[in-house]
């Protein structure tokens, strides 16, 4: 009996606490950059698509809502021919971002994605690709990778020696 009354009392006291509720949408809440909202695909510092179509995000996705197809440019640079996220399935867990070796796929603090028609929640590459680097600046996967892909010459990447001259016998 006493405990019920005590609970009622505490509940009643809440009426005088500071309001947590805000008048959304007039007023917007602050969301930190690491908030896990709408997913985007970002670009390299030099403005080229960052995604190298490695399929790791798709593999990491627990609801399997990412699908893409790799394709190669003339000099071997790989990028997605299509990149599709079905946001009606996405649970915004951020595993894709965690799996991505290039910082291409990033979750953003935007959550305003409501649609009347579920079909509109299927985003293709043109809806996902932004024109900047997103949260992570300055990283260019191909500069540190071993393949050249037309981005650099063999041996000119970060931390690389010039290519071996196979015909030389010098130590």
């Amino acid at each position: 009996m006493f405990s019920i009354l005590r609970s009622l009392w505490y509940t009643f006291l809440h009426a005088f606490h500071k309001r947590e509720t805000i008048l959304y949408p007039e007023e917007k809440p602050y969301l930190p950059p690491r908030y896990r909202g709408r997913i985007i695909l970002s670009r390299d510092p030099d403005g080229i698509e960052r995604c190298v179509a490695c399929y790791l995000c798709a593999a990491a996705c627990p609801v399997d809502c990412i699908s893409l197809q790799a394709i190669e440019g003339e000099n071997g640079r790989r990028y997605p021919a299509f990149f599709r996220i079905n946001f009606s399935r996405c649970i915004f867990c951020g595993y894709c971002e965690e799996a991505c070796p290039t910082y291409a796929i990033q979750l953003t603090p935007d959550f305003e994605m409501g649609e009347y028609n579920r079909q509109n929640l299927v985003y293709e590459k043109e809806h996902l690709l932004i024109s900047g680097e997103g949260k992570y600046h300055g990283y260019d996967f191909y500069k540190v990778a071993g393949i050249d892909a037309g981005v650099k010459e063999k041996g000119e990447g970060a931390n690389e020696q010039p290519p071996v001259d196979v015909k030389s016998l010098m130590p």
């Binding site: 399929y55 990778a145 071993g146 690389e160 071996v164």
Partner: protein
Amino acid sequence: MMIKVQIDGTYYEVTPGKNLLETCLTLGIYVPHFCFHPAMGSVGACRLCAVKKYKNADDKKGRIVMSCMEPVSDGLIVSVKDQEATAFRAAVIEGLMINHPHDCPVCDEGGECHLQDMTVMTGHNYRRFEFKKRTYNNQDLGPFINHEMNRCIQCYRCVRFYNDYAGGSDFAVLGSHDHVYFGRHQDGILENEFSGNLVEVCPTGVFTDKTLKAHYTRKWDLTNAPSLCIHCGVGCNTIAGERYGGLRRIMNRYNGAVNGYFLCDRGRFGYEFVNDDNRIRKAQIRITKDKNLEETPPEKLTTALSDAFFGTKRWIGIGSPRASLEANFALSCLVGKDNFFHGISRKDHLLVKTAIAILMNGTARSPSLKEIEKADVVLILGEDITQTAPMTALAVRQAARNKGIDSTVKSGIAEWNDYARREKSQDLKSPIFIASSFGTRLDDIAEKTYRASPMDIARLGFAVAAMLNKNAPQVKGLNEAQKELAKEITGVLKDAKIPVIITGIHSGSPDMLHAAANIAEALKLNGQHPLLSFLLPECNSMGLGMMDGKSLDDAIKLTDGGESAGLIILENDLYRRADKAFIDSLLEKCNPVIVLDHLVNETTLKADILLPVGTFAESEGTLVNNEGRAQRFYRVLPPDGSAMESWCQIRDLMRLSVNHEEVLWEKFDDVANAMTDQIPAFSKIKGYFPDADFRILNEKIKRQTIRFSGRTAISANIDVSEPKPPDDPGSPLAFSMEGSDEVPPSSLVAYYWVPGWNSYQAMNFYLDEPNGSLKGGDPGIRLIEASAANHLLFFNPVALSFRSRSGEWLVVPAYRIFGSEELSSKSRAVAARIEIPFILMNYGEAEELGGKDNDMVRLTLADKIIEVKLKIDNSIPAGILGLSTGLPGMPYLELPGMGKLTVLKS
């Protein structure tokens, strides 16, 4: 006898004579390794397989040994988990990773990389080395293989495979110290016919599949099915992988009795025709003879077909050696046995029937490739087997090493100790005799070669038989050289433990088959157990040959009688089988002409009604290979309504025609069972392959890995509500990632994966021992067995020795691994390797005619005139020409035949 070893405190009974690494893999104990390959043995190069070995139970310190170089012996005490050994292995990986590029995301090996697996397994997580990485320039190695040399870890598997195992000579390890380079002396196409195996042999992403790269998909995303290679009569087992409705790649599927760990390049890279733009996807009808074929809606098609069946009394059915047994059987049910024809020329039909009759007679056993590998003497009569049955050639190449192996075993070197064995045996080779009309790709391992016309080769065979057994018919008029050679072959064959005679029908000579049979019979009378391998051209030549039915020429003759008939052609481009004029008149006389096929070809263009059917990737079916082994392939592409399996199309035709009881056929099993009931030759197949109701713990076998991605997004652009996975009621496999986790029966293994082993090396855990048989037996059932009691009546030689006439040449067929087979030639990568039609001629003769290499020449053969490129080849004897056969652009010609040649002035 089994011996006892102690591994990490547990006692195991194991087979002696193996190395410790193999033994551990057999027992399912994970020992990281790179350079050991079950088919190639150990060299101890990579140092990753380190384990601790103890002298005896009192030895607590032990010492580190390489498990791949350590023979198992009774009482051996070792530890894999030992701390020092573990640290040693992690250090080895760390050393290898020093120069390894940051490539995994863009590396095609990623997700099925042996190096990734080993790195995770040894626990090397963080890079401590801060200095610069070594880099290499890559090479362009042709349309099959991509080269990314930075990723190499110097395990030497590639050179050991390419040079030592496959006999290649344009690939090597170059450079010195930490600058070694694995590649060619300069950019260029890898010449060896087995280069594709580098993709699986290399534990890293240095060599990857270029055709897969063009439509790249990770291993975990592929939908896989156990399939068969349909590009020659060897019947290698493959894993076909699909993504987004397209066939993405062909991988090796282990079969200890057939292809083992390897495939040839035609089989691996010849799959792309399945995705071709020229696929027939919709039914088409020609309203009147002068109109073009037009796509038809289903209702109209049904009406047209019913009209056709109503109006036509007699139907001629033409089967195909590239269609499954079940499809051919269904067709013979539809048209009736007497109206079913084999769809190969009379000559080929006779040859196939002769070969099968000899095998059925039971004199000699038709060997599996594994048995050929064990041979101590091989005699090849009239075939360039690298071009006509590539994997058989690879098996013969292994057989050549047996004498060397024997010599090393005598000096106590274990069979797996590859380097020591090669050093000891040097150039010691088992005798391989090759008789052919011109040089072959196996000549480098031949004890003796003999170049002559097919007639003379057959005569040589008969002479050998005659020398082996005096009751065998003698050959008259041999010259000294021939006698000498026959004597030498006879001498070697007489003492052979496992003599193998290989011949085939490609040279177009029944005498060749008879000669081989005579030799086999003579050896048998001598108390030996000869093996007799007949190479037939197509994936189901053997199976079709075991069915009743006459040749294509007989069908043509029938229509010549003026009787009107309808014609149904099953997966067969008749213009490859007979003279154009004959086929034209056959198609002209028959009305209507219904063609079932999957790719546009000359025959489909002449159809009145063209029905689309599935390729091997869209069908289930049984094929019988050269060995007489019936094997089954399963569909990998999900049904999309466009390509029905051939037998289904034929069943639907039956439903439109008269009352056939076969119309009850619902599932594949129904037609397969009807066939095995009705055709006694196939009765052994019944019950061998798991049927559609097969379940493991109530679950089907999954075609997809547990990590299959994109389920809810793949078709979301069409409809956001994802469809249910395609049903596959006709097969024990499911188009799903859900299914039994148990290892399926050997014939249903759709992909290889065990925890920790994502790479192809996982396959070793599906075997009873590395390089052994699949657990549960190697898939496939042999339909033809020899018996000790059966004997053959010696055949009489008919061929006369070939005498050249001036101004005329004997034109013999020259086959090419790339180009001579119809379907692989329509695949992009293989097409890039096809030569332009050519004719081989001796230098001296060419000079007399005033012809040089690459000149165009005009060949007149019977009533045909063709223009081809002249290729000087000094291995071809005077008076004989080798004409490229089956290549795109070459008309059908009956070979061998006499022809005239003129050089065209350019």
